[in-house]
Subunit: 318 residues, 2 copies
Amino acid sequence: MSENLLAVSPINDDQVHLLTDLNVNVFKPEDLDVKIAAADITILYGWKPDIGNKLLNTSNSKLKWIHAISAGVDYLPLATIAKLRINLTNASGIHATSISQSVLAYVLHFVRGLDIARKNQEKHYWETNAETQAATISDYHYVVFGTGHIGQQIGRLLQAFGGHTLGVNTSGHPVKYFDETIALDQLDTSVWQSDVIINVLPLTDETHHFYDANFFNHFQNLFLFVNVGRGPSVDSDALITALKNGHVSHAALDVFETEPLPSNSPFWSIDNVLMTPHNTGVIRHFKKTQLELFLPNLHQFLQDGTFKYNQVDLTKGY
Amino acid sequence: MSENLLAVSPINDDQVHLLTDLNVNVFKPEDLDVKIAAADITILYGWKPDIGNKLLNTSNSKLKWIHAISAGVDYLPLATIAKLRINLTNASGIHATSISQSVLAYVLHFVRGLDIARKNQEKHYWETNAETQAATISDYHYVVFGTGHIGQQIGRLLQAFGGHTLGVNTSGHPVKYFDETIALDQLDTSVWQSDVIINVLPLTDETHHFYDANFFNHFQNLFLFVNVGRGPSVDSDALITALKNGHVSHAALDVFETEPLPSNSPFWSIDNVLMTPHNTGVIRHFKKTQLELFLPNLHQFLQDGTFKYNQVDLTKGY
């Protein structure tokens, strides 16, 4: 039996043959109920709520596999997917290069004093060397929450600059590119006395508002808080307070509790915040790279119904 | 005979003993003509024009060695120093870490689109992902003019991010951390078709206004020009023209032909320029680090009058 794949995330026209060569029929959203019945879709490539939920709610659905084009899958109805015993894969790893490079861009921006330079440039003010002496990466200690693909690339780059890296994961198991690791439920002074916190944790019940007032109050004066994970992992009000009362000196934020960020959010105009519009994971040649990630999994799935990598554990949510 | 060292660049009080233990007498500028005659100074630590020229012009001067606390020595009267057969050492290497990290800060700023993010933040504008797709380091080709200590650290970091590095030096000899090297007088399309030019050349007669209109016109649309070398290596007017007519898209400049940069300079307000006030080489704990660089040379000089490293070739000027 051939598979029927619905591509809600677009596939380049000149690459569709890579799927049809494997006897996979490829449909676009406009084909639904026209060229193919919803119940006959077996693979969903990408996720859009309206189409996705329609397939999940179709009786006699033959849907066996959803491939999410992101690393985080918190925006999918995981409980329903688990109940229907549908396989879910994600695109973990595909964003590691671009996100880790943005994190280094943020870190270097503040460590090397580009934030100050930018303000002085606006004022046409030539700052003399005696006024400030910018740090270098090795002057600070870095804690990366989340030691998966993205966290490891961040650790690797920080180490290349001579930075000391502490990784936080569920069990505290050692991970490449981290000088030390610690368990998420055993945080101690090695975290509270660090200088830079970088969040790449997946969003789960445990990590919702993980970075709250209690977390930020542990720091006397954290140099930089970076969030390239998920917005709701941070209690926005608590972070804004911490930035104002000095528990946190600077923040670089790519993700927010509400996106797009409302125009009246204080984050837009807090002086010591650098923000990007949830785009550090956006990559050039995205369609091509995404399909290249998908194909080895498709090969294996067609052979034996299993996956080579990136299958989401629906009980954990990542 | 003990040496008499005049420290015009300050030495920490608690480190002076490291010199006196070696039977070196240490004097400060205010001691000149009071505690010590100008003619009796044998070592000048640092350079200030008034004091330096006074020593050089003193008859019967016993001055044998000038230690410059910078990598570039173009601001010293090299011909006079050569004629008087005085040794000159520099601080090459001491700034490599801080300068190379600033270069990566500049490069990542533009490559990862922080310049655009910053402008959107000012406007409270949430840019959608479809509008731009930032590059990553490996999307571009990098040419580093100057393959000494600083150039090599820049090459090393770019390679850690997956960047392709071409080094330019006098002979084109291979250097670690460069995928390729090319001679300064044999530039070809590998340079003109590159995306990012980084200048760390010393300032000499050959490199004065090396980056002129002719140079910039070779590029259809250079993504980024970085100058962390010397200001006069660049013809400012030519660069300003290139930034306006599109031969150069962005520039990151730490050094300028006139410093401090005059308040009416166009560089202050050109939209696609990021500037810092000649401070990328400024390092924390400068006095301590400088003395640590100086001491091994002093040890060897006291033994046999030669230097362990960093002696300037006065015919070349670096």
